[in-house]
Each structure stands twice: as C-alpha cells, then as structure tokens.
Symmetry: D3
Subunit: 170 residues, 6 copies
C-alpha cells in the first residue's frame, strides 16, 4: 500500500492538472492519491480568485470516477519555508512519494528526505494557470481548458463576475 | 441538492460520531455531507493526541461505503470566535444546514443566519471523547468504542504510545 | 494640552467604569481622554461576551455629554507582554498619563517610562465586571449596574440570549 | 436610525476624503458615520508612513463640527480576504450601508449581502493619496491638499522627516 | 565533531540547569552544546518573568569558562507541536543529540527520528524552577539556588520588583 | 560597561560584515557586541537562502577570536515596524548603541530614543549581499567575498545546490 501526494494551487483546477493526475494513476506507483490545495487561505485576488472550499468542490467533482481513492485537503500557508513540510505532513494522511514540478517544493521535500517524482508534464501545467485566468478575464474560451465540472462550479459561485470586479483595481 | 456540515474535533473518531452521521444520512435532509475537523492545527497533547492527517484517515476509512458522498476537511483554528463562521465557509464547499450540539457553534452559526439542527444524541458523543481518551491511557477496552478502521490507524501511528509518553508530564 | 489613557476590557461597560472616568475628568489633569478597549479581538465567550464594536457603541453612547473630548479605540491583543506598550502607542493618539489599577498594565507602562496613576477606586471596578456578568446569566438585577445606554445596546444585540446559549457548554 | 461605514487607509487624511465625507453627510442617508482606518497595523513605510493613532488624531480633529456623530476605528489587517468583512463587523458598531470605491471592498461586502454605495468621486480620492505622499517627499505644496488639522498633526509627529529618512532606502 | 541541544525555559537559569550542563560536558559525547531558550516570546507573567534577552545574559555569563563552546539561542513558540522540531532545527546550528527530560520534547524529537538522552537528573531541575520563583516572591533565600551571575542580572533588571508587582493581580 | 547592537540579515555573512564588526571593535566604544540576525524566520528563497541556524554557525565561527565578547541572536520578523524595536529589546541583552546603515532601522531606533551610529562603510556592505548571492548562483568567485568559515558552512549544508534548485522557478 503506497500513497502519493500532489500539491498545487488549482486556481482553477484545469485540464493540465487532470492530465498529471491521470498520468500518476497510470504509473500504478501508488494505491491512493492525496491532492493538497496550496495557499488555501488566499482568495479573492487576481492570482487566487477562488476559496479553498470552491477548489475542493471543483477537484472532487472532476475526479469522480478516478481509478484509485483520493483525498482533497486544503493547506493553509505557514509563510515559513523551513516549516512547510512538517505542516503538510501534519495535515494529510501519511504519504510515500511526492509528485511536483515546483522547484521549491522539490527542494523542501528533498531536504526532508522524502522522494519526489518530477516530470516536464507537471511544469507546463503550472504555466497554464496564468493563461487560464487571463482568458477568464477576457472572454469565454477558457471553458475549453477546464473539466466541465469546474465550469459549473465557477458558474455557481459567480466566479467570472468576481474576477472582473476585482480586476478593476488595476 | 442540499449539503450538510458536521463539525467535530474527532480526537479520536468514535462510535458516537458514527451514529450521528448515520442518523443524519437517514433523515434524507441532505444529499452530501461535509465533515469538518476542528482544531486541525492542534496535536500531540492529551486532549488532542492526533494530527489532522491522522484524523482524515480515521474518518475516511470508517465512512467507506456511506450512502451519500462526503468531504473530510481539516479546519485550523482562527482563535477569534467572530471570524470562525467566515473561516469555515471559505474552507469547505457551500452548505445549507449545520449539525451540531456544541452551544458555541450553534450560537455562531445562528448569528450568521445559517440553520442549525441539534439533537441530544450529538451531545452525548462529545462527552464520549473524554471517556475514550481516558480508556486509551489506561488499557485496552477503548477498542470497543471506535470503528475497527480507527483502531488500525491508531496502531499504525503508534497512537497509544504517543499518548502515554505525553501523559508523563502530568 | 495633556491627554490621558484609560484601558479596560469593558465586558460590559458598567457604572464602576463610569465613576472612574468621571473622577479622572474631575482632577482636570488631562484635556482629552483615550478609552482603550482591551482584548478587542475576543468575543462570544463567557468572560468576553461582546465584540469590540458592541463595546465601542456602549461606551460612546454612555459618555455622550462628557465634559472633555474622548476617543474610543479597540485594541487587539498582541499576546506578548513585552510588545504591548509599543502596540498601544501605535494604535492611539499620543498620551501623557495612564490611568489603571491592573498590576501588569502598571508594570509594563512603568518599564516604558510612562507615568501611571492608580487608585483603589479603579480596582473595585475590575472586580465588578465578573459580578455583572454573573448577574446577567442569572436574572435582571444587572440593569442597575450599568448605564441605561449599555442596557439598550445589550438588548439590540440580544446579548443576554448570547451569554445564556454559550453558557450551556459548562 | 441608519449608520454608514466608510473605509480608507488615510495615509494621510486629505481633502479628497473630506469631500467624500461631506457628500455622504449631505445625502442624509445615514444618521451616524463610522470611519474605518484600514491597514491600521502598518506604518513607517513609504506607502503607509503614519501609525493608526496618528491617523485617528488627523481624522478626529478634521471632522470636529461635522453635522452627524461619527466613530473613528482602527482596523488591523487580517490578511485573508474571505474573513475581512467578518473582521470589520466585529470591530465597529452595526452599520447599514458601506461607502467605497475600492473594487475589492465592494466585492467582499456584496458577497456578504451588505449594500455598497459607490461614486466616481470616491475613486479620485484614492489616487490622490499617492500624489500627496509624493509631494510630501519633495516639498511644501502638499499642505494645500490636506485640512489644516492634518498639517499640524504631521508637524507634531515630525512626519515629513520620518518619510524622508525612510525614503533613503530606495 | 558532535553537537548537542539542551532546551529549557530558564525562568530563571538556576543551579539545577548548571548541573545538567556540567554532567553533559563530562560525558564527552558532544564537542559543542546549543542551549535553546524555550518560550522566548513570553515574559512578564508569574511563570515567565524574564525576557529572552535577560535569559541570554544569565546563561552566557554563568557558562563563562565552560569546557566546550556553546550557543545560546532564543526560541519563540510556534504553538503547533507538529511544527516545533522543524522550527527548532531552522533556528539553531545542526545537532546530533538532544538532552531533555520533558516528556513532550522527548516524544516530538523521537517522532522526528532524532536521538534523545534523558536522565532523572534533568527532571528534578524542571521542578526546581517553580520552587525558585516561589522563593523569589517570598524572600531572599532564592539566591542560594542560582549562580551568582544570575543574581546580578536579576538585580540589574529589577526582576524581583517586577515579579512582586505582577503578583498583585492574584 | 557598554554593549552595542549590530543587526543584519547576513544572507550570507561576508567580508563586508566582517569589516564593519572589526571597525566597531576598533572604536573601543563598546565592551560587548550583540549581532542580531534579522528575518530569522525566512529561508529557502533567493534573497534569503539560509536558515537562522546556518547563519548563527557562519557568524560564530567567523568571529572566533574577536577581541571582545559577542552574542549571536536570531530575530524573527514581527511584520509591524511600530513594534520592531520593542521586539528586538525583548530578545537581546540590554544595549547602549546601535550600529546600522539601514534607513528604516535608524528611524525606528531614533523614534525610540536609542542612539544610532551610522557610517558609509555599513551601507556598502548591504549592497554586497545581493552581489555575493548573484555570484553564488553563477560560479565560484563568491568564495573570495566571504570568510573561509562561511565557505565551509555553505558546503556542509549544500547551500549552492539549494540556491540553484530554488532559482529554477524564475
């Protein structure tokens, strides 16, 4: 029995994240997957428009039917890199492998002696977040970049209106 | 589609909590249930022996096969009662009803205009936590008070040894 | 031009506080008085039932017509005694004298080189807070212990109902 | 009886803020006005040169003689947008209307179901803050942009010298 | 080259602490010793009368001439047991062994895989802190329980007067 | 007996800091020197690569043999300029003079009535930090800019590898 951890900010959860998760499942390296929602306490700004609860809903609905059991856990920031791994370990079930392409996340888990699997695939997905948010501000084509369940959550919480209102301060 | 919220500290998750959840499901008032783990950031003391991640594992495994979908979400303390409802709302998916017997929780949600369902059943279960922890320090009979999945999580994390070591400071 | 500072928790503001303020005004030592509301971030518990905003309202209304200008300022806790004087100084207009009977407050301002005026009168008033809250839980005689403006604020915010609900957890 | 809330950072309080307050009073929509001092815990940097206490003094003196009663309340940051409305509500007396031109403030109060009145007038005044601070660093013409009471508070606390010293780090 | 860590609150540093340190040096297990001052951010209350800086001074002066090099490091509380070991590791030089008799400290380092040396000697010394503080409030015999350098630091900072003033609130 | 305070971030401790300390010792103004490590709680980012503990080690080893006794004290950030001087005073032994070229540090100590000695020498050294970190990312010439003891600490903690890994996120 092995458990993997995949951490992201998921602002919003999009097709790039979906592909990463599907590729992890395919490797059969882990029997269960924890999805940690980073910066859970940050919302209502242009880079972090959605609350942790809204992101829990996006992810859980999108992963309905995933081949392995999964946990979706909000992770508040601790604002001290040296404490972050201990914080994550206290908030989620025990895990054996970390999946990440974030250079800082990789370094922090390595210093803590926890194995990290990285892949160029993961990297592209983090860039995609900025692109998706830009599209959301500007028009409708963003809908192709996210699972349909995410689109419906964003509609329920009036996410596009929220982003456009906040954007006025720029 | 209605979603309920049930908040507890679950130190540990025991049969009393299980009965409450089953009684909520039976009412058919809600289609989905959020289980909020209070004081998620407190662990390793006699009243709060387990981490949030350990409690996530206890609850998720015990509820495997529950008749309705559920979310298990750690809730760090905010240490300000007047902000607590806003904090909870930001960390979990939107909800319509709160299930609680805690007098402060009831008051805070009522002041926020959110309906709370209370029942004497819920009250007994909070008393049970103290009793279960006392039994854990003293011997083996605690195992009858918790679901078998909780017993195995506590064994995996050497929970009894942890509690007895910490208890030496008294 | 001299300004005085009087700090209390005012849970609730009562006749004892009123007498202290009137006795300060009578000395003519200061031209203006700052009233600092301590533990402004604590509310909804039995020792601190009211929010800072509710206490601002109680005090401002009760002091309507005071002979000298006054400021009513909420002071959140900093939870570090060694920083408390610097915190207070940053949150209120400059002041020359502190009025207090609290032994810790006296010590902290003295170590900072700020003069403190103390009087047995001030001491009795702090004891009175506990007595008034006890009466509020038990019946109606508390109304004689507070200015009529405080009674009306407590009615507006359903303060007695709040206290009795919270008290159920004991 | 209606109470309005007007929130700003007031670094420093200037003629633009004064005009907004006078225009609110003229509408006769509210009987009392709360002035909330945002980022109360930030001072001694170029965008936030003044402490909350210094700003309380500027505002209270400048509004001396205002046609309706007013409250001046420092509001420390909570650094979580999703909790900010609950924080403000706990620190100030109950209010019915919010006056603001800040897009985020408008969004947060709207999500909380509290009516917000906005006007282009309010917007200009926020831009003016940056301009006034720039003038303060460079010469004397800033004095025309603030009420005379603000000028005297800034002189008392040696505000210009403070700003110019801090500016050396650039 | 091996480094040891010894953590205490040192309110105040007394002969019991001195004996523990001397017994650690005698074992020759470590070439250098780190002394971590716990609850560094707590002061001016009856259980924690002295600031971290005052305790740094007491310890450094008392250990003048110790046979091995030592570091004296204040450790602010993190208020989360699950993060405490990571916090300590980030604040002090790398260490190989921990010396402690505190049951919680032992448990936390053990869960982190760091060896802990315990001895009944260490236990007695923690009890002694309460006794020394009680004597300080009541009379002069406390001076026999501390190194002479500690007595002089307490005199310099008027420590006994501070404790007796704060004690009045009881 | 006079004690001086010198505060820096020391990311890393380099020859510029060394020269400042030697020039302070030469003036014979102080008998003891406190070295305060600012932003002690920030590490693992490009501007703050090293933990407080690593910096304690760099400084203590480099100053071995200094002509006067010295204290090396980590100072966590308080994130409120108005409280910073009180924070520093509580964490370090009492001091009479501050040595700094940082404009904000100078202003904050001056407002607190504590004398500050400044010199152009100190200024250059702060600029040097950025230069040294840039060299560390790019090649080997940084070793000439730091004391040999710092070079060995950085090797022990694999500091260059850490910096280059973190830099990948840019």
């Amino acid at each position: 029995m092995k458990r993997g951890l995949y951490v992201g900010r998921f602002q919003p959860f999009h097709n790039g994240h979906m592909q990463v998760i599907e590729s992890i499942v395919k490797t059969r390296e882990v029997n269960e997957l924890i999805i940690g929602i980073g910066s859970a306490d940050t919302s209502h700004d242009l880079r972090h428009p959605f609350t942790a609860g809204e992101r829990v809903l996006m992810i859980t609905r999108s992963l309905n039917g995933l081949a392995i059991p999964f946990y979706v856990i909000p992770l508040e920031d601790v604002r001290r890199n040296a404490l972050w791994v201990a914080h994550v370990k206290s908030m989620v079930p025990p895990f054996d492998i970390v999946y990440s392409s974030n250079p800082l996340v990789i370094q922090l888990f390595k210093e803590a002696g926890i194995p990290v699997h990285s892949s160029p695939l993961y990297l592209r997905e983090s860039l995609a977040g900025t692109v998706v948010r830009k599209k959301m501000l500007e028009g409708d084509t963003w809908k192709e970049s996210v699972p349909p369940e995410v689109e419906s959550v964003i509609a329920e919480v009036h996410g596009i209106e929220r982003m456009r209102q906040i954007a006025k301060s720029d």
